[in-house]
Symmetry: C2
């Protein structure tokens, strides 16, 4: 089983895959100075369909974490905003001619969401603490908008 | 000073103002049964502009809480997703001929976001615990998209 080491989630490291949604970087002061607005951080792309907000409630996983399945959404981006302060695991992979190349495993710092760009290979939602509650901003359409790929051997994300 | 009592945030009570975003109600099982998807809960309305995701970091407030200012966004809806499990205060008011009527003060249960419908009078973002971190899904445009109204006397939300 091939082992993956956790990488801290940073905007620079994650740039090939999507956007990091957090309160670092530039902001506008609003509400009489009592609120920082970090403006328009996600490249939302839902093609000819609209964006919607759904709530996901996912079972918490533990490290080490084994997986062999990745998926991607060819028709739209998908953002995950954690509704708790627990770090979560973000598994992504570059594409290599229609199937995923070697995956990478990022871990959030508890104050970050992500927006996966359209067509990026990624693992299923993997919270590391309960309740695994997330707001998901993605394409609302009538097509399946899903491709799955199963590796011939599993990968293991180390603790 | 006129006093307001807290009301628990429920979908039924909040329906005149917007949507409650939470993991109650119907869902689809996804990810081999390990995730519930509560699908498409928000009536996003951004007119002729696009929706975007911003991160707000707001100063925590305490109860009792006094306010005299409400605002509304005539050109679009605005959703607030808390990134922590702290309850937050949601102040809204019906419209009465272009200015707000008597406000109401809802409190979330720590696992709820909201989507304010277009044009609904509301108070500024008022977390009740630090860090007051929220993802905001609203209209990204070039117009001010803001009306403010200041009451002649303040309102007080009781503890």
């Amino acid at each position: 089983m091939t082992q993956l080491r956790l990488e801290p989630l940073t905007a620079a490291a994650f740039a090939p895959f999507g956007d990091v949604l957090d309160a670092t970087g530039d902001f506008r002061l609003i509400n009489a100075g009592l609120c920082h607005r970090h403006h328009d951080l996600a490249r939302i792309d839902t093609g000819d369909a609209r964006a919607g907000i759904s709530i996901f409630s996912a079972e918490a996983r533990a490290l080490p974490y084994d997986f062999d399945l990745l998926e991607r959404h060819p028709e739209g981006s998908q953002a995950f905003v954690p509704m708790t302060q627990h770090p979560f695991l973000v598994i992504v992979a570059p594409d290599a001619g229609g199937t995923p190349a070697a995956p990478r495993a990022f871990i959030t710092n508890g104050a970050q969401g992500i927006n996966l760009h359209r067509g990026i290979w990624h693992g299923v939602l993997t919270p590391l603490g309960a309740p695994g509650l997330f707001a998901v901003i993605d394409r609302i359409g009538t097509t399946p908008n899903l491709e799955e790929y199963r590796f011939s051997a599993p990968w293991c994300v180390l603790a």
